[in-house]
Symmetry: C2
Subunit: 333 residues, 2 copies
Amino acid sequence: MENLKERVTIYQVAQAAGVSLATVSRVINKQGNVTEATRTKVEETIKRLGYKPSGLAQALATNRTTNIGIVIPSANYVYISSMLSGVSEVAKEKGFVLTLFTTGHSREDAIAMIEKVIVSHVDGAIIFDDELDEADIEKINSYSVPTIVINKKVVGERTGCVNFSYTNALAKLVQSYYENGGDTEMTFIHLHNCGRLLSHCERRFIAAHQEIGKPYHIMNVDDSYTRTYRDFTNYFQNHKKGYYIAYRDSIAAAVANAATDSGLRIPEDIQVVSLVGTKYAHILRPTLTSIDLDWQEVGKRSMYMLIDLINRNLEEKSYKFDANLVIRNSTKH
Amino acid sequence: MENLKERVTIYQVAQAAGVSLATVSRVINKQGNVTEATRTKVEETIKRLGYKPSGLAQALATNRTTNIGIVIPSANYVYISSMLSGVSEVAKEKGFVLTLFTTGHSREDAIAMIEKVIVSHVDGAIIFDDELDEADIEKINSYSVPTIVINKKVVGERTGCVNFSYTNALAKLVQSYYENGGDTEMTFIHLHNCGRLLSHCERRFIAAHQEIGKPYHIMNVDDSYTRTYRDFTNYFQNHKKGYYIAYRDSIAAAVANAATDSGLRIPEDIQVVSLVGTKYAHILRPTLTSIDLDWQEVGKRSMYMLIDLINRNLEEKSYKFDANLVIRNSTKH
DNA sequence: TTGTACGCGTTATCAA
DNA sequence: TTGATAACGCGTACAA
């Protein structure tokens, strides 16, 4: 209420400089039609009074906030912060500021965040949250805030999207595994409530096995390095062979470390794959076979597309990133 | 300009509901003094028209944005995003939204961001950027936006701070190294332009050696896993022993991996320490001796303090986190 | 080149 | 319980 009470307004500047507030406004916005004399006079008083324009009032008057809303899961995953970093870099370059809307695991929460985005008057939004379905996207779209949706195919007048070929890469992985004489059954590590990307992969994993009539396993684990490490350490007491597909590097590392620490060899006894690979996939030892994607690039591209969307010159409203399977030391092939 | 053209205003709701806009405002803000009949009537039209209040106009009228500005380096480090994650969690719990101001490596850039923070009318700010000095903090303070500064001792009427005991932990590390019969010289890995935290540590490292009259090394490296790995791989051709102190996990891992891949043993030949340890310090193999700090907790605490500061009931304006030296497998002791 | 007056979408203070 | 009306701080046609 009172934390900004002494804010200097444009009106006070005008008065102190002996001009009208319109003139001050012109000086601020560097519009022409101001004498060099008055310009310097105004600028001097601005300095002297320590005047800063109110972004709020400017935004209200111009209907532009130079704010971009970004909706992401609150989970502190490396690939998410990489993406954010990419978005942030481009936003900065283009003079935008990012407002963060983090979602929890529930759909209600995600919807509540969408509401906040609408209320917040952002110039555009990037949405990366698996809980939202098309109806929700429709909603934000109906308020005509330009939106780029990540990992969901949806385009519209004011909507574009960025997608990945994860499931294809995964299918290829499964296929080549058996073509190369894979002998033990593959196990997909299921995490509860970990979003659409993972569940799509799981479905594709199952489908790929059904197509070729091979048996497979699904295994439930908590989304935590520590607990997964503990669970697999127990598990490896009785299981000395296996091929495990984990969601992300930390989970895969938990499996790999549990195996190594249990005296099993990678990849001879145990093979591990990380679905969402980050730079840690090649920093960790053994290095992890993973499906790689430059998430920073995903963020950048999304932001570039959003800016084009805002300026109404986005040609291709859909973009697809290739996720590449990179074989490293945690698998035989 | 036109991306929000069809925004429904409170006035239109009032007209459609056949009441005055004051009444609508009361309904929105759930203030009493509204008949149940008119309340439902208004709420119905709000639904029907899909009205959403404008956060901008609300903020302008109330002088409260429910936005918190957070100034952080653009570097995509794990500890920074952990911190951000902590801030974000508390912000969400308390009904605030985060606006991100990322700074580059230059001081000018950091100052420009401070300007933006002031313009943006946030209710408070958390500043975690090593480029800023006290004069800059003074400045933001003079605009009376409540501020929590991380990693810089500065308190004031509307300013608090959160600090760490990194340098103490580092001094202890050096001391105990020589007490335990450390034989090879210690090498501090210097990164250019990597902020105050690192340079403070470096100074403390040097001082600790000078106090006990021991020689030491400073080594320059780029702030990148790949390049550091490459440089050390070359370096280890001619150096078969050493104790290296790196800024963060990735850099330490680069040294450790380069050593291992060059056929050297850790910790027998090469010892490595990570200054800013994150969860990867114990995921990586060998596990890294590091100075640990719960950065998420740092973020949380900062946000809690900021909220208290905003509400004018922050008792202790300075808080210090203990950074703990954790010995793991990358060092002998 | 400069100033006047109105609009942006709310909240809040008074009257009614 | 309601409804005018004045802020909030700024941008901008239009007039001077």
